[in-house]
């Protein structure tokens, strides 16, 4: 090859490189702090708020490592994930922690990594330890991991919400929650629960508010704030229920710790208020419909009112229609309906079901049979009734997801003076029993049961006696009472004060 040809070839290469650079520059040159918005890619990133600075803290270490993998970030992350699984399997916690730190340097904005591995640390790794203090330490390590994630992903409400969940539920609902809550409140913060917390440093939180439920609630509040600000789609019914439920759990935990009277009442009162605020919040559900959980009562009232008006326009018509429909049923269907449910055969069950569907009288059917000038009004009423029923049923469905009416009633019941007194007396009775003072224990149980009677008889809560949750709790309480009586060789009273609870919900539960 002649030197000239070689020279020309180099010139061509240079020209090609320059051409490619000329095309590349407008597309991908970076933005600068001097005001240059950068190339097309940089602007798109900025518009969609995807630049590192917009996502959260910039991590020079992570960026260096990503560059050092020479484009093999995916491969490196895969290898590290496999290693992390292996270390977990072989219970090498030191190396597991170190590997997780490497993974997040490679994938700082991959949300699942933070959530999965934080859960791994707080729930799976912590469970491997026999010492409850070590278990607590690893729960905190999981929370710390999430806090680290928040620093790099400031706009992700799910990470804030997870911190709220781990802080409140993992610590407050574990088998060892009593011990965990004590460690959480440790004045010296030995496990670093509040250390290096950018949002809630220890100095910003007085000792009495260092409760895992309250701290969890704060994180949920942050999650709500971020979700609203960033318009991140979340499952709103559940997402917004966590914060007020934390307040309920806080109030419960106070009583479990032996704190009653005004402080407990205030906690319950606040719980009711926050639950009510949640009920009044506009929540987006399904395909973008907006509902409010507290609207159900209004729809229920509307249904009752419209129904009454419709019935008044044609008294007895609905019953008559139903009888007509019944007359049209086949003999076999009628027989199936008349047979008591427990004696029905398989075929009769099916027939009875079909027959019941045929007997339903639609409001429109009633309205259409109204004659004269009221017919038009009746048809309008039927339409309103149908709409109110449908909307009410939809809200009721969503309310059942979070047991909305139950929690509202719970907060209302618990702040009554009778309930507060009942819980305090029962707590004192339990303590007396623990210390072996059976006389005091029995006296306190007797007094506590009397107070429970008053709570159950409160006309504000007519459904309380039949409530399954309270039923179970009271059966456990009666079981403890029975234990004291047994130890004192005393018979169980024949006219027991909560006999209706036993009759309705079953035998006492042995403690």
């Amino acid at each position: 090859m002649s030197p000239r040809a070689s020279f020309y070839r180099k010139i061509i290469y240079l020209a090609a490189v320059s051409l490619l650079l000329a095309v590349l520059y407008p597309v991908s040159h970076p933005s600068t702090s001097g005001g240059d918005p950068g190339g097309v890619l940089a602007q798109v990133r900025h518009d969609h708020q995807l630049t590192e600075a917009q996502l959260g803290d910039i991590d020079p270490t992570g960026e260096t490592i990503k560059l050092a993998t020479f484009g093999l970030r995916g491969v490196a992350a895969n290898i590290l994930w496999t290693k992390a699984f292996n270390y977990k399997k072989k219970k090498d916690w030191t190396k597991l922690s170190a590997t997780l730190q490497q993974i997040i340097k490679l994938q700082p904005h991959f949300l699942v990594v933070w959530r999965f591995q934080a859960h791994n640390l707080s729930y799976n790794v912590s469970a491997e330890f026999d010492d409850y203090r070590q278990r607590f330490l690893w729960v905190i390590k999981g929370i710390e991991f999430l806090k680290q994630g928040v620093r790099y992903n400031e706009r992700e409400p799910r990470l804030y919400s997870d911190i709220g969940w781990f802080t409140s539920q993992k610590i407050g609902r574990a088998d060892e929650h009593k011990q965990f809550r004590v460690l959480f409140r440790d004045p010296e913060d030995f496990y670093g629960v509040f250390a290096q917390d950018p949002v809630y440093p220890p100095s910003a939180r007085p000792m009495e508010f260092r409760d895992n439920w309250l701290v969890g609630k704060d994180w949920y509040a942050r999650a709500e704030e971020v979700a609203e600000r960033e318009h991140v789609p979340v499952s709103e019914i559940l997402f917004y229920s966590h914060r007020p439920k934390c307040q309920m759990n806080y109030a419960e935990a106070l009583e479990e710790d032996g704190v009653f009277k005004e402080k407990a009442r205030q906690a319950w009162s606040r719980a009711e208020r926050e639950w009510n605020e949640y009920g009044n919040r506009e929540l987006t559900v399904g395909r973008g419909q907006v509902i409010r959980l507290n609207d159900f009562e209004q729809y229920a009232a509307d249904v009752a009112k419209y129904r009454e008006q419709l019935e008044a326009m044609a008294p007895g018509l609905r019953k008559k229609l139903q009888e007509e429909k019944r007359a049209r049923l086949s003999k076999a269907e009628r027989e199936a309906l008349d047979t008591p449910p427990e004696k029905r055969t398989q075929a009769q069950w099916q027939l009875a079901g079909e027959a019941e569907a045929k007997l339903v009288v639609d409001h429109r059917e009633v309205a259409q049979r109204v004659t004269g000038s009221k017919r038009r009004q009746a048809l309008e009423l039927a339409q309103k009734l149908r709409t109110a029923e449908r909307l009410g049923a939809r809200i009721e469905g969503y309310r059942s997801i979070v047991a909305f009416p139950w929690w509202r009633m719970h907060a209302q019941v618990e702040q009554t003076p009778e309930a507060l007194a009942a819980r305090e007396l029962i707590y004192e009775a339990d303590e007396a029993y623990r210390l072996g003072d059976l006389v005091t224990a029995k006296a306190k149980y007797d007094a506590g049961l009397e107070k429970w009677r008053e709570v159950l008889d409160n006309p504000r809560f007519p459904t309380l006696v039949g409530d399954g949750q309270y039923g179970r709790e009271l059966r456990e309480l009666i079981g403890k009472y029975q234990r004291v009586l047994d130890k004192r060789d005393e018979p169980f009273p024949e006219d027991f004060i909560l006999q209706d609870i036993i009759d309705r919900h079953g035998e006492p539960i042995e403690p």
Binding site: K95, S97, F129, D131, Y132, D175, E176
Partner: protein
């Protein structure tokens, strides 16, 4: 420390290893000769081929015997010069850069910081040196051949053995120097990374008995300040001038007190006890079932990792370690026992304390068993229990026979009932060597005392800490492991480079390295023991996104896949047998966990490396000999 692959005893291992090696080498040599003959036949016809093979076979002993140390040294120097010319120092520069930025990835607040730092430096050094060895060895000869610079060597009166060995020795020399420089730097890095101290002031301490007023006449306790996420409890006796703090995160500090000038000042040393090299004496583990009969393994509690098996609490079940060579000369004061346990709870039990266990010492001949310690379990850390020479404090003593079910269904009881002497246990004091050790043999029993709870144990979980070796020496032994890996990689690299071009040699050598590190996986794959099947079945599952455990749909396709895998497995098994077990040469876990690398382990691994080196070098020589360039 977890020992998943126990190291065999050198002298017991040697005869079998030699026999195995000899057979493999003979078979390989025969295959090589056969293939060489076949190749030559295709090229020159059988008659010439036969002559060539015979000539080659005659030349081998000559080349080997007449290899000149002087020429070998010259070629070694040449390889060294070449390595230096190829900027081997870049590897060193990368090492320094890695160490400079390592602080970003290492968490000094870790529960076991020494383990983290040590495994990091040893792993990083290993990877860098092996990469360097890979590039140097695989690229050198092919580029010499390509650019014909090899002619300046082969035209001189040198033998192919000298060229191959010269390269191996030269690159090894370069790597050794590099390792010798890296070792002290790594050590300094670890020391610097772990160095810290705490402060303690008189106000941090309060009297042990809070009822009394503070005065100098009684012991005081308190905590140091928190550094790197931990603090130490300190107990200061009234007249003591120095003493240790409590052990936290594998270390302690020595405090000294200065009471001059009417003021009390405390000073704490740097961390102590972090870098250790325990010399463990391992026993042989067996288990007792809940009815008191011997079994090989304990209960499987469903843990994915089956390293430990478990014993049930509050039953006769026990983990029993039998130690031999326990003599008064070795342990004149008593037995220093160290153990790590697995704990499995089936119910909450007492949340605020760990599960109770008991440690007993038993004489295997008389059956006298003395329960020397009741303790609370502690997982994932080493628990130390001292069994004194004179045992005066114990929680129980009885004579317990060993019951073994024999193959014929009968039960062997040791000692037999007629020779059992329950009176042996009716004493207030026992002498370890007179009453419990029988001819250097003693049993240590571990039992769980709580019903519904389980203790897990593996052979290496309980040992006698015979002594402590110098840590620096152990650290250097860790480097010997890296050195052995490096020599093997160089030898394989040089061998491949005598046969194929540079890129192919690089890929082949990279493959050997990768597969060598995953040899255990290859062996399992070759035996068809992996869940999800062989290579083609795995491919089918990947493409069809099928779970590993579900059966493939029966049919011709599946049959073909299985047939292909059966053939592939044969090939993989043969390959796996020829691969060097590179991960076995890594002693990182020993150094990082603080256990001495025994002479036995070093001897076994060194000989294993040599067993690979000899045939690899020989093949390298043969390949070069048969290439035209060297003739």
């Amino acid at each position: 420390m977890v020992v998943e692959k126990p190291v065999p005893e050198f002298w017991a291992w040697l005869p079998w290893a030699l026999l195995n090696w000899g057979l493999t080498v003979v078979i390989l040599a025969m295959v090589a000769v056969g293939l060489g003959f076949l190749g030559a036949t295709l090229r020159y016809g059988p008659r010439v081929a036969w002559q060539k093979v015979l000539r080659l076979l005659r030349a081998i002993p000559e080349d080997l015997l007449y290899t000149s140390p002087r020429r070998l040294w010259a070629l070694t120097r040449l390889a060294v010069k070449e390595a230096v010319r190829r900027r081997v120092v870049v590897g060193f520069a990368v090492f320094i850069v890695v160490l400079l930025f390592a602080g970003w990835f290492l968490d000094p607040t870790s529960e076991h910081p020494a383990q983290l730092y040590l495994s990091f430096v040893l792993d990083a050094t290993g990877y860098l040196v092996l990469l360097m060895a890979l590039f140097l060895s695989a690229l050198s000869l092919p580029s010499d051949i390509r650019y014909r610079t090899i002619h300046t060597v082969v035209t001189k009166p040198v033998r192919p053995t000298e060229i191959v060995l010269g390269r191996i020795f030269g690159f090894t020399l370069v790597g050794t120097v590099l390792l010798l420089v890296m070792a002290p730097i790594s050590y300094a890095f670890v020391l610097r990374g772990l160095a810290h101290t705490h402060t303690l002031s008189a106000e941090d301490l309060s009297p042990v008995d809070a009822e009394q007023t503070a005065s100098d006449a009684q012991a005081k306790v308190g905590y140091t300040d928190r550094v790197r996420g931990h603090r130490h409890r300190v107990q200061v006796e009234p007249v003591a001038r120095r003493g240790p703090t409590e052990v936290v995160r594998d270390h302690w500090h020595e405090w000294t007190v200065d009471r001059s000038g009417g003021e009390t000042r405390y000073r704490l040393s740097g961390p102590r006890g972090m870098l250790q090299a325990r010399v463990p004496v391992y026993g042989k583990l067996r288990f007792r079932d809940t009815k008191g009969f011997d079994i090989d393994k304990g209960i499987d509690v469903g843990d994915e990792w089956t390293y430990r098996t478990y014993i049930q609490g509050a039953t006769e079940a026990a983990s029993v370690w039998t130690f031999q060579g326990v003599t008064e000369d070795r342990f004149p004061e008593g037995l220093p026992v160290e153990m790590t346990l697995g704990v499995f709870r089936t119910h909450k039990g007492k949340i605020e304390r760990e599960v109770l266990g008991a440690l007993s010492v038993r004489n295997p001949r008389t059956g006298l068993t003395v329960e020397v310690e009741i303790f609370e379990s502690k997982e994932f850390s080493v628990k130390q229990i001292w069994i004194p020479r004179k045992i005066t404090e114990f929680s129980g003593a009885e004579v317990i026979p060993r019951r073994q079910r024999l193959i014929d269904g009968s039960v062997d009881i040791t000692p037999p009932p007629e020779r059992m002497n329950p009176e042996l246990a009716n004493r207030d004091e026992f002498d370890l060597f007179e009453d419990l050790v029988d001819d250097g043999t003693v049993e240590i029993w571990l039992q769980c005392l709580e019903g519904g709870q389980y203790f897990g144990a593996a052979q290496a979980d309980l040992y006698l800490r015979a002594a402590d070796a110098p840590f620096v020496l152990n650290f250097l032994k860790g480097y010997v492991g890296i050195w052995l890996q490096m020599v093997l990689v160089i030898a394989f690299g040089v061998m491949f480079s005598t046969l194929v071009s540079a890129p192919v040699a690089l890929v082949a050598q990279g493959g050997v390295m990768l597969l060598g590190f995953f040899k255990d996986f290859m062996v399992q794959l070759g035996r068809g023991e992996l869940i999800g099947g062989g290579p083609s079945e795995a491919l089918v599952r990947l493409v069809k996104q099928e779970n590993l455990v579900i059966q493939l749909n029966p049919g011709l396709g599946t049959k073909l896949v299985k047939m292909f895998d059966t053939v592939a497995e044969l090939f993989i098994r043969a390959m796996a047998a020829l691969l060097p077990p590179l991960s076995d040469f890594s002693f990182v876990a020993y150094v990082a966990d603080g256990y001495n690398i025994s002479a036995n382990l070093l001897a076994v691994r060194t000989l294993t490396a040599l067993a690979f080196l000899i045939p690899v070098a020989l093949f390298g020589y043969l390949f070069l000999k048969t290439r035209e360039v060297a003739q």
